[in-house]
């Protein structure tokens, strides 16, 4: 198996109280697969991604990538965050060169950076500063930067959550194109059902308190997905039903908390 997450548990201790955030997460991902992790806020989906990235430690359980146990961050896993996290003191091109420079000559790195900037259609903005371009463009630079390392696994943590609808749908097209061209394995965290239906081969639906996997939905439809709108409607309703009980659970707990106060 390409990526396997085994019996993963994660709990945080806050003011002496231990809270279980992720409980017994079990997930296998094939090479070249686009998997979305979908769930309401607070279900631990971003924590899960952060553990895969090696930025957070699991309390229990393990993650293996191509047979190797993950300990800490590594270049074979590229990460795109909700905010672009570009370095303001570097130009767009220098930002994309950033992960390459330790190993490569400046000229090689620049060539490679241009290649990936072209892939996200930003060739005309190589010399700009990050703050001179729009949020959507910044996020594209962040994608190019993650891709430039040529990672085996691309991790995306609600990468388009902060963008407007039009920009988001344009970025969906770019991501889908990149996915088809580069055949990267992508793990994509989102809270948008539409987004996950549009992009994924499989959707992992997560529940909350603690975070568990409720269901895994296979989507065997041709891309682009706009061709199979009616078939997808069935899945949309199915996921909505799954998540509704989760959201009810959250509301109920909040009301209970309010009553006990």
């Amino acid at each position: 198996m390409f990526l396997s997450i085994n019996n993963l548990h994660k709990s945080f201790t806050n003011n002496g109280k231990t809270e279980l955030v992720l409980s017994d997460i079990q997930l296998d991902v094939n090479e070249g697969e686009f998997v979305s992790i979908l769930g309401p806020s607070g279900c631990g989906k971003s924590t899960l991604l952060s553990i895969v990235a090696g930025l957070t430690n699991a309390t229990d359980g393990s993650i293996e990538l191509s047979g190797k146990t993950i300990k800490g961050p590594g270049k074979e896993r590229g990460m795109v965050f909700q905010q672009a996290a570009l370095f303001p003191w570097l130009s767009v091109e220098e930002n994309v060169m950033f992960p390459l420079l330790p190993e490569m000559s400046k000229k090689e790195a620049q060539q490679k950076a241009h290649q990936y900037l072209q892939m996200v259609q930003l060739s005309a903005y190589t010399k700009h500063s990050p703050h001179e371009i729009s949020g959507g463009m910044q996020q594209r630079v962040a994608i190019a930067r993650a891709l430039a390392m040529d990672p085996a696994l691309l991790l995306m943590d609600e990468p388009f959550g902060a963008l407007d609808e039009q920009t988001r749908s344009r970025l969906h097209e770019i991501v889908e194109k990149i996915f088809l061209e580069t055949k990267k394995t992508i793990l994509f965290v989102t809270h948008s059902i539409a987004e996950s239906l549009k992009l994924s081969d499989r959707i992992v639906v997560m529940g909350t308190q603690p975070g568990t996997i409720l269901d895994v939905i296979e989507l065997d439809f041709p891309r682009p997905r706009s061709q199979s709108k009616e078939e997808l409607l069935y899945y949309e309703e199915k996921i909505q039903a799954l998540l509704k009980s989760e959201i009810d659970k959250v509301t109920e707990k909040e009301q209970k908390n309010a009553a006990s106060r």
Partner: protein, 252 residues
């Protein structure tokens, strides 16, 4: 009306009123000389080069003191930001020292170094180091955690992470620290020179005062003020503006 025009009118009026008041009330030059006398003294000081020698001597001390302070402030700032123990112990002392004007160290400095340049430079270093330290520390502590996380996923860690991400990310604070360090150093230098030995602008000011030459006293005061403004405006504010713009922090 342009702010520059308003300013020119303001200063012309100020000097006219000053000149007029001295003339009308027949004020003694040992209390308040007329602006014309001040300018004459300033001209004389420059033409016989005494003020030039003073300027050179003062700037020499300033540069030595400021250079030491900036390096020391940078190192101390990094230490306080990186070591929790250092921050809790040495950090509290540095914050406490911040409330002490550096000139109060002069009696001790004179005992340690003698009545010479070293004592004055010591005062300058003390005055400027503390503010630089505090700014560098704040800059490093305020580096967005997201930058660090992002760099870690790109395999940056240890010293490379520090030099390629933490340091550049905290440069806006460091530049502000440098600007403040210059201002503190300049004030400390004048106070130090006034109370110790020459040559230097502060020393010449006291010398003129001892001889009751108030025109020269005010001339030197004007010079101190002008240099303070010019260096801040022409150098530090420009650098600060450029850095803030490049870092995308400028409010345009």
């Amino acid at each position: 009306m342009q702010p520059a025009v308003k300013r020119i009118i303001f200063y012309v009026l100020l000097f006219t009123i000053w000149q007029g008041a001295v003339y009308v009330f027949d004020v003694s030059p040992s209390l308040l000389p007329a602006p014309t006398d001040v300018f004459a003294s300033l001209y004389e000081g420059f033409s016989n080069l005494t003020l030039v020698y003073d300027l050179v001597a003062s700037f020499r001390r300033l540069f030595i003191g400021l250079a030491i302070a900036l390096v020391l402030g940078l190192l101390l700032g990094v230490l306080l930001a990186k070591s929790k123990t250092a921050d809790e112990t040495l950090g509290s002392l540095i914050l406490a020292l911040q409330s002490v004007p550096s000139i109060v160290w002069l009696p001790l400095a004179i005992m340690w170094f003698g009545l010479n340049e070293m004592a004055v430079i010591f005062i300058v270093v003390l005055g400027a180091t503390i503010v630089m330290t505090i700014n560098v520390r704040t800059g490093i502590i305020n580096v967005p955690p997201l930058f660090i996380k992002a760099a870690k996923t790109m395999n940056y860690r240890g010293f490379r992470l520090f030099s390629k991400v933490t340091i550049p990310a905290s440069i806006p604070y460091a530049v502000t620290g440098m600007r403040l360090a210059w201002a503190f150093a300049w004030r400390a230098l004048m106070a130090g020179e006034l109370l110790s030995t020459g040559p230097g602008l502060g020393y010449s000011l006291r010398f003129a005062s001892d001889f009751g030459d108030m025109s020269r006293v005010i001339a030197i005061m004007l010079l101190i003020m002008l240099i303070g403004i010019i260096v801040d405006l022409l150098f530090f504010q420009r650098v600060e503006k450029k850095v803030l713009k490049k870092w995308g922090l400028a409010t345009s």
